[in-house]
Structures are given as structure tokens and as C-alpha cells.
Amino acid sequence: MPEKEINRGGPLGVEIGGLRLKNPILAASGTFGYGLELAPFCPPEALGAVITKGLSLEPWPGNPPPRVVEAAFGLINAIGLENVGLGTFLEKYLGPLKATGATVGANVLGRKPEDYVRLSGGLARSEVDFIELNVSCPNLRHPGGLSFGSDPGTLAFIVEGSVKAAGGKPVMVKLPPLVTDIVALAKIAEDKGAAAVSLINSLPALSIDLGTRRANLANGPGGLSGPPIKPLALRQVMLCSRALSIPVIGLGGIMDYRDALEFIVAGATAVQIGTGLLVDPTLPIRVIKDIALWLKKNNLKDLSEVRGSLKV
């Protein structure tokens, strides 16, 4: 697909909370840095949007090493949400990233529910195009041991407060995958004003070194991502997209255009590529081109003919 066709949007364009994206391929938080690091391989402006590394109010140092280990065809990480903090992001990284013409989502996370509201307020007047609330990181825990997004009351508080504070910017809520009723949580997000939900985050996981009987990560547990989690992600996306009227953004193990299209068939409006970017930093560009080719080959006008077309 020629570059200018990508830039025009055309058959791949999607809309999320009033925001027009040129295509449905987004870079997932934590795998695209602060937006420019991978530019030689994957220009941020060629994507539907880039979502930043998760930002907290103050800089966080993250976990000690080792922080990653492979599982069968997957990756377990416990980076521990190392980030430069909101202030440094706004001062140093956002301007150059926006100058490329990229659409930018800021992923935010906090230690307390109030932190999300403050972070959203801090982004309200920035050049960021939308906000993604990370209430589901397996490396971030409530004192009770559950992620914020697993607790209906906490989730409602965070989403409602953040939407109000965000000054009209669309708010996307990244939900926890391992819950009894994902639809109930997604509906809370919708009711409280979220523009979209994104799922799934990585799954709580553990990797053991039998020789030493220690966990392979210094943190102990971590979050599993990559191809092993795709089937679960597809199922959660299908359930949520059928129950909600706001867009569902799918992610989990996308390694090529077929994986991405499966999410769209399951009902996703757009998708995010995360672990796949670590395997191949040019992957999103190829997926965008290949989806356009696939549409053409199958005589389809645009993605609306594909979205939610799962036959059951």
C-alpha cells in the first residue's frame, strides 16, 4: 500500500470517541517507548496511533533484573512500570513525537485510584490525543492483591473521575483479562463515560528455574504476553464487543495481518501490537499493508464489512 494512501486513511480509517485514526493498527503501551525510539523501523505517524509507555505522576525505577523470560512462544515480563513520569514526558518527549504528525495516546497508571484522575487532569490541556487508563497491569497491585480494574467500585471511581478530568479527550480503559465477568467490568467503563475499552493486558504468570527452584524473574510473577494469549483475548473481545456500544480495541499475540483481522472479525474496532513489536520492529507497517491487500483480494470495500462478522 503506498504511503499516501495510508496517510489519507481510506478503507482502513476508524473512529474512536470522535477521534479519527488513519488505520486500526496501534502500538501497545510499553513496546513503543515514548514514541520515537523505533522510528527508523516504524514511523509513528504511519500508525493509527501510538500509545506511550505507562506514565505515573512521578518517575518510577521499576523492578530489579531479570525482568523478562520467554515462555513457550510467549514472553513473561515484570518490568515494574519503569517510566520517566508525566512531567518529563510532557516536557521532553511529547513535542517531538507530535511534530511527526503521529496520533498519540498516553497510557497512565497510579498507585492510588486518585492518581489516575490527577494524571488525566495533567493531560487535559496537553497535545495528547487520548488517554488509556492502565487499571490492569499484573505488575501493579491493589493492597488487596487485585488490579484496580477487577474491583467494580474502584474501576467506576477511576473511570468517572478520569473522564471528567480529561477535558473532553477520549478515555480508553485497558481492562484486566482474568476476571469472572469481563463484560460487567467493560459495562462499568462504558457507563462511566469511557470512549473505548482495550483488552487484554498480559496475564498473571510465573516461570520457574527447576535447578535453583527460584522464579526466573527477580520479581517472582510477571505478565504473560504474545501468541499464547491470543485465543483468550479473541474471546474476551468477542464478548465485550457484542455487549457494548463503544469501540473495543483488541490486543494479545498479534504477529501478522491474519491475527489482526481475527480480532476485527471478533468485533474489535482497532487492534494494538505489543509483543510483536519486540519480535519485529517493522511489524505494524507490514500488517497495515497486508490488511489493505487482503481487503482488495477479497473485494471488500473497507473494514466495516469485516468487523464483528464472526459466524456462530
Binding site: E37, P65, R67, L277, L278
Partner: protein, 266 residues
């Protein structure tokens, strides 16, 4: 990012192989940098590992690049089984090299210290430094050693006197003991700055040796790595000033006295 061709695979003894790839000339002239290699398909399409594997650039030839591959797991077994003409995806050169850290690197005399597969980056350093380098190469046992013929070839001295080898259990050629023992003797005779690559215990011991003798020290750091490009923050190591250091971007070559070796897991 290029798809290169395997131009040769040489067994070096033990589980060690020299993998030579053809690459566009001039692109990889970099001391102490690394590259991501992959000779297997994307993870949803067939066998292999999810991630690429990072390797120090071992040798820089005219239109070729070589890597020292030690067969320790499924990915290195695939690389050690390549045949001439097989494609390998190369992403590199990546990271910070010695010439970035010390522009006068090539003009000084150095002690190079390699533990096990830490011999990886030393090939190009030996070639660049010639008789200004003295290499200390240690292994746990003889069965892991790179053959002595290959090793001698890394030295410009015909008799290989610029290279000292050790095995901890004394089962290989060379001296018995830790590689740091002849290093310390060398420092006692002549002070020279150190470049070391190997397991964290060796890198920490080299830091102590450098401090005790008041010489400079560059470590070629190693950590489990995912992207190799600075975004995933998997490979960070703690520095003494409390900040984090990304092995893939600020490293792998680093001022070895700036890292907090006590907090780096062996």
C-alpha cells in the same frame, strides 16, 4: 534490518561455533556493539523461539560479519545448524561501542578479559588493537573451550603469547584456576585498563581489580533482552548513582565502575 546469508559455519570446539554472515560492506564497523539474529520464523508460523537473540559482533570482515555462537538452548542450536546460503535476519549494529565511550580506545594498551561466551566481542577488539591487547580467556572446564588454534589466530603474535587461557577445573589447555588470577598478576607487572565480558561474577571481580589497581574498566554488560532497541526496558541494570542503565542502548559497553554489581543477580 537486513536479511543476510550464511556464508559459513565453523565448529570451534566444545559447543562453540563461528557463524559468518554476508552483510553490506562498511555498515558494521563498530567495536563492541551487538546485533539481533534470527534464523527461524515468526512465532505463530513455526518452530523457534519468540524473540531474536542478541550477540556481540565478533569479527568484522570485508562484506562479512561473524558471531561466536555457543550452543546452550533451542535458538543457539538453530543458529549452530545453519548451512551456507541459509537466510538470517540481522538487526544491528546496536548499542554503544568502545569507540563511542573512548575515542582514543585504539591507541591504548588493554587487558581483555573473557569468561566463557564472553569471548564474543573480543575478536574484533583483538583485531583492532593488535599487539596492544593481552587477552585473558577463562572457562569452567576444557570441554567448553574454543580450540587453541582458533584462539591463537586472534592474536597478532605468531606464538600466541598475547593470550592467557585458564580453566577452573584444570581440564583444558592453559592454566588451572580463575581467569582473574593471571589478570591480577598482569596488573601487578604492568597497569593497563581493562575490558571484560562474561558472567556477572567475573565482571564484578574485574571491577574490584580495576579499583584496586587504579585502572580504567569497561564492561561488556549482559542481561536478558527483548527488543534490543531501547523500548521494552527488559535489560536495565542498576547503577551506583541509583539510575538505570539499558544494556541495549547505553550499553553493552559501559564504564564498569558505574554499575552496582552487588545488585546484579549472578
Amino acid at each position: 534490518m537486513i536479511v543476510s546469508e550464511t556464508s559459513g559455519l565453523e565448529s570451534l570446539g566444545g559447543d562453540n561455533y563461528l557463524l559468518t554472515l554476508s552483510v553490506p560492506e562498511g555498515r558494521f564497523a563498530a567495536l563492541g556493539r551487538f546485533a539481533r539474529l534470527r534464523s527461524w520464523p515468526m512465532p505463530s508460523l513455526g518452530p523457534g523461539t519468540l524473540l531474536d537473540r542478541p550477540f556481540s559482533i565478533h569479527g568484522i570482515g570485508r562484506g562479512t560479519l561473524s558471531f561466536l555462537i555457543r550452543k546452550v538452548g533451542p535458538a543457539t542450536a538453530l543458529l549452530a545448524g545453519l548451512a551456507k546460503g541459509d537466510p538470517v535476519r540481522v538487526i544491528g549494529p546496536l548499542g554503544t561501542g568502545l569507540d563511542d565511550l573512548d575515542p582514543a580506545f585504539g591507541e591504548k594498551k588493554w587487558y581483555l578479559v573473557a569468561g566463557g561466551a564472553g569471548l564474543g566481542p573480543m575478536g574484533s577488539l583483538m583485531a583492532a588493537l593488535g599487539d596492544r591487547a593481552r587477552l585473558f580467556y577463562g572457562e569452567r572446564s576444557g570441554k567448553s573451550q574454543v580450540g587453541s588454534g582458533y584462539l591463537r589466530g586472534l592474536s597478532r603474535d605468531a606464538d600466541g603469547s598475547g593470550i592467557v587461557t585458564t580453566t577452573e577445573d584444570g581440564t583444558g589447555y592453559g592454566l588451572k584456576g580463575l581467569v582473574t588470577e593471571p589478570l591480577l598478576r598482569g596488573l601487578g607487572e604492568e597497569k593497563r585498563p581493562i575490558v571484560a565480558c562474561g558472567p556477572p561474577g567475573l565482571l564484578a571481580a574485574a571491577a574490584r581489580a580495576a579499583l584496586d589497581h587504579g585502572v580504567g574498566y569497561f564492561a561488556c554488560a549482559e542481561a536478558r533482552m527483548a527488543c534490543g532497541l531501547g523500548v521494552c526496558l527488559s535489560c536495565t541494570l542498576p547503577k551506583l548513582d541509583g539510575s538505570n542503565f539499558r544494556v541495549c542502548r547505553e550499553g553493552p559497553m559501559v564504564d564498569g565502575l558505574s554499575l552496582d554489581w552487588d545488585r546484579i543477580r549472578a
